[in-house]
Every structure is written in C-alpha cells, then in structure tokens.
Subunit: 169 residues, 2 copies
Amino acid sequence: MNNACSQHAHPHRLVQQPLTELTDRLRAGSRKVTGQREAILDVLRRHASPLTNREIHAALGKNDCDLATIYRNMHTLTSMGLVKRFDFGDGAARFELLTDASDHHHHHLVCNQCSAIVEIEDCFPTEYEEALAKRHGFTAVTHRLEFFGTCPRCQKSTAAVDPTIARPS
Amino acid sequence: MNNACSQHAHPHRLVQQPLTELTDRLRAGSRKVTGQREAILDVLRRHASPLTNREIHAALGKNDCDLATIYRNMHTLTSMGLVKRFDFGDGAARFELLTDASDHHHHHLVCNQCSAIVEIEDCFPTEYEEALAKRHGFTAVTHRLEFFGTCPRCQKSTAAVDPTIARPS
DNA sequence: TCGCCTGCTGCAATCGGTTTGCAGCCTGAT
DNA sequence: ATCAGGCTGCAAACCGATTGCAGCAGGCGA
C-alpha cells in the first residue's frame, strides 16, 4: 500500500511529466512553446494543488488570455503527458504538474466542506487491479481513486452537514 | 479485498436502500410516493447498470414527464438513500437501486471505448482507509473508486485509442 | 524576399448536464 | 370548504467545456 500503482506499470500510459519534458514534447511534435503555455506551466508549478481551467485563467490575469484558449492548451498539454484529474466532486477538471523528475503518483483526500485537498500516497494495490482485469477479460485497466471526508479545521468549525448528500459513490 | 467497505461501516452514511425502504422514507418525511417516483424506481429496478437522468427520462417516455422534474426527483430520492454515482467518465450522474435487501456494495469497471459497465466486488480496504483518515485527521472518510479499461469485445474490434487521453486520473 | 502552410489565439456561439423561478395543480390537514 | 405545502411542467439560466471562424505569427521552400 504505497505508491506502487498500476497506472504507472502499464505500458500504454504516459508517465506524468515534469515541465521540461512537456516542453520538449511540444517541440518534438512541431507544436510551439508559446508564452501562454509557458505561463500556464509556470502557474501550475507554483501551485501545490491541482487547478481548474478557470483558476489557471484567473491566475494568468483574465485580460491576457482567452478561457477557450486555456481549454485548448490544457488539452494539448494533457496529450503531452500533463495529468488531468476529474475527481474532486465539482465536475471541473483539474490539472497537475509534477515539479520533480520522480514518478510521484498519488491520489487526493478532499474535504467535503471546504474543499481542502491533501495529497495521499495510498493507492489501490496493483496486484488486485491485475487480478481484477484478468477476471473480467479487460486490458489496460487503470483506476480512479479519491477520498472525501471532513478535514480537521471543519470538524471544529462546522456542524455536521447532511450525510445523505455526500458526494462519493 | 471484498465488499467490506468503510462507506458502510461509517455511521454518518445512509446505507444503500432497496425500493421499499426508499418509499417508506418518503412517506416518513411527508413526501409523496407519486406515480412518477414509482415509475422512476421501477425503471431503476429493471436495469442492471446505473442510469443517467436522461436515460431515466427516455425510459419513462419523454412525453410523460419533464426532465427538470426527473432531476428534482432524483435529488429527493438521493436524499432518501438512493445511490448517486459520478464516476463514469462522461460527467453525467448515474443512479442505482439495489434490488435485494443485502448490503451489496460494489464499484464499477467501465470500458473506455464502448462504456460497457461491469459490476465488481473489489473495494479499497477498510483498514487502509481508516489509517488514512487517522493519519490526516479527517473524519467521515469515504472514497470513490472506479476502474477503466478495454473490454473483451472492444479488444477484438478496435485498434488502440490514444492512451494519453485516457480518462482516469 | 515573397508567399504559403500550419499552428495559435480571441471572439462568439453552441452544447450537454444541471438548477431554478414561476405558476398551476393536487392532496392532506384544519 | 379552505388553506398550506408538496409536486409538476415550462422556460430560462447556469456552468464547464467545445467548436467554427477569422486574424495573426512564425517557419520553410521557391
């Protein structure tokens, strides 16, 4: 139960890339490392938590770029290996850039009330995932795993919210 | 690695309910078991896979009800314990009704290409989740876990799709 | 150097899932 | 019978995301 995760063992999946490899891949594919893309990556590098398109847009200064172009650039960067996450409960995609060269796979623990995000090293065990894939005849099996709960601060400050509308399935 | 899942052990979370308990709860809360709600639950009961609001709407016959009312009713039913799932990769919520009285928790394995859904019994181990919660000071921790891959049929019929846009994070 | 091709960008429109305001209806309690 | 509250249909709006279009910029060959 550590960061040994099948998502990284599978040959079909691009390994999450630090900044320099992303820009190298852009160049290798006759795409350009434009100022906006550099700025996007810089914003991601300076933030510990994954950011939404809107948050990136705001961080760049709303006047300097178009939100639609951010969406397009995030799509491009994702195809270069940037990690896109969908699993924070609000339906918005988030993007995450690793700043060191290590293959630092992780999941997240999200506070149901204040949306605080904590990085988690726990992961679904590879051997179980492989057995699962074999059992059902699937290949290229990956998973999404996110945790939700009440963070220490919200435990103190808030009465319990209605548990029936908790987001995790 | 079975269906022992912390989501059910936690006292704050409503246990997933079969049809009769949902209707009982409606009545207990001075809500009504209207014809439309009965029809919705009947549709869910007859389908093995979780359904979206639109699918339920279509199954009911588009002329007989309003989509907005379906959304409202699904919200109501969810607050009564019906299980709502967000994790099938297309951004649409899905609803699931258990037809037997057993506490039959499960997750899903979704085909990236044809969206086929397979119920699976594997779950993130409770003891790890509890340790995780304690380690970070969170309470009421639950999780979302979904698996994605290529189903046997799509392995035969389709060339590999671009792995860089695979949906799981 | 001149075009030309390709990719990038801003703008506006659009789409799909979801929510909400409003008015009318039905039902159960007083 | 009356009244309040919940339910419903309709229309509009919201939000994340995508797309068509036109203009622009940079690289490359003639």
